[in-house]
């Protein structure tokens, strides 16, 4: 989705994007980007959100409202920042009705002194039995000054659901870096190869 095209409240009809959505609202101001997504019954939709320095210093929120049964939404998100840029990303999955699935994999790559805050909220309302909700946030810190604050949250009010969430924060594997360098690959290129490998998991569509 080319979010730069939307600079005011705008409701996009399914015919434009996909038949899996009743609507998508995109709202962008100088410092915020908000997406509100309503999938229809029996739909399956996948979104990729690729953030970069372009979205730096903004608050981004993505809200998915499951109002119709048996809808599935997959979200793959990436935020990669340099210098002193920062970003805040908040996702909210509202499971209002039964039998819906939300699966999210968010990956962050923080270079230099960049900072990111990630909040992943999943709310399973009382009627939303047989909800299946997954959230994973994996972060790679590439310098001592880089920072990530990650907060997955589950609010579950139904009792027959499957929900999981997890967050990891790590740095490049020293052993892997040494291995590549010992084979003649120059340090910066070796680091770039490992960062690329970290990011590319997003594009291997498989189980989250």
């Amino acid at each position: 989705m080319d979010m730069a095209r939307f600079n005011h409240l705008h409701r996009v009809t399914p015919g434009i994007l996909s038949s899996g959505l009743e609507g998508v609202i995109v709202r962008e101001t100088e410092n915020t980007i908000d997406l509100i997504i309503d999938p229809v019954k029996n739909s399956e939709t996948t979104f990729y959100f690729l953030s970069s320095d372009f979205h730096a210093n903004k608050h981004c929120s993505i809200e998915v409202n499951f109002r119709y049964e048996a809808a599935t939404v997959h979200i793959f998100g990436l935020y990669e920042l340099h210098d002193k840029k920062h970003i805040k990303i908040k996702t909210t999955m509202n499971h209002f009705v039964p039998h819906c699935t939300s699966k999210q994999l968010w990956k962050g790559v923080m270079h230099d002194a960049s900072k990111a805050a990630f909040e992943g909220k999943i709310i399973v309302h009382p009627q939303a039995q047989k909800t299946h909700a997954q959230l994973a946030n994996k972060n790679l810190l590439l310098s001592q000054q880089a920072e990530i604050n990650t907060k997955p949250e589950l609010e579950i009010y139904a009792d027959d659901v499957t929900c999981s969430h997890g967050a990891t924060i790590g740095c490049l594997d020293d052993n892997a870096l040494f291995y590549l360098r010992s084979r003649g690959i120059e340090e910066n290129e070796a680091r770039a190869i490992l960062v690329k490998a970290f990011i590319e998991e997003l594009y291997d569509i498989g189980d989250l």
Binding site: D173, D174, N175, A176, F178, Y179, L180, R181, S182, R183, G184, I185, E186, E187, E189, A190, I193, L194, K196, A197, F198, E200, E201
Partner: protein
């Protein structure tokens, strides 16, 4: 070709190598045997230039040049290779891409032309048979999900591709069954060459049955305490390290 002079080294501020002297000439196969904790892996990591290993005294001369200040990649370009005891798994990095990038990095640094994907595949395939590896290992991530034997074969494959002048193999035989051991030994033997030095670092004698060393040294407490020929290896096997 490789001269280690009075080498002292620490890891995490602990003195592990306490004065190692060793000379390896082109065409020679040396073996260093030692019990756990004697400094075998420290020695191989110091030679490869790994971060965290600090040379406190002594010199390492490779082709007459002191390499202590050189990075691991610079040493590889000079022709140094370290076969690891526990080759690391690198998910997400394609094995073929890694091998090609390594080879081309070295070729480029030496002013040689880089191989394109087609030429590289042709080259790799000629070596795959020699190490008993199937082409499918090229499509997987580096060492990811490889068995112990497959990881060691991947090390030998890298040696065949990169054609190092000095190869240090750190406990290449550990964790291998007899078949894998023989296959690895065969690979090492094909790399024996008048222009190449090989250093086998090992705990057990069994690899040395298949790859016969010209010289055997015993490492104890961070120092080489005895040197001899392949008979020394058999003595150790019979009497243990305590007998020395």
């Amino acid at each position: 070709m490789l001269q280690i002079k009075n080498l002292h080294a620490t890891v995490h501020d602990t003195q592990i190598l306490k004065g190692i002297n060793l000379s390896i000439h082109a065409g020679e196969v040396h073996a260093i045997m030692g019990p756990n904790g004697s400094g075998k892996t420290t020695l191989s990591n110091v030679l490869a230039g790994r971060d965290g290993y600090v040379v406190t005294q002594g010199d390492i001369l490779f082709f007459g040049k002191n390499i202590i200040a050189l990075t691991p990649e610079e040493r590889a370009v000079m022709g140094f290779f370290l076969g690891m005891q526990y080759p690391v798994e690198i998910p997400g990095v394609n094995n073929s891409y890694f091998l090609k990038t390594a080879l081309n990095s070295i070729r480029k640094a030496r002013g040689e032309s880089e191989l394109d994907a087609f030429d590289f595949m042709q080259l790799v395939k000629t070596h795959l048979a020699a190490v008993g590896m199937d082409e499918k290992f090229l499509k997987r991530s580096v060492n990811a999900g490889f068995s112990g034997g497959e990881k060691k074969r991947n090390e030998i494959l890298q040696m065949m591709l990169l054609q190092p002048k000095m190869a240090v193999l750190d406990e290449t035989d550990s964790g291998l069954d007899v078949d894998a051991l023989q296959m690895v030994a065969k690979g090492v033997n094909t790399l024996r060459d008048a222009s190449r030095g090989i250093l086998l670092i090992t705990h057990y004698q069994r690899l040395l049955t298949y790859v016969e060393p010209d010289f055997v040294h015993v490492l104890l407490g961070g120092k080489i305490v005895k040197s001899g020929d392949k008979q020394l290896a058999q003595e150790i096997e019979k009497n243990g390290y305590g007998a020395l």
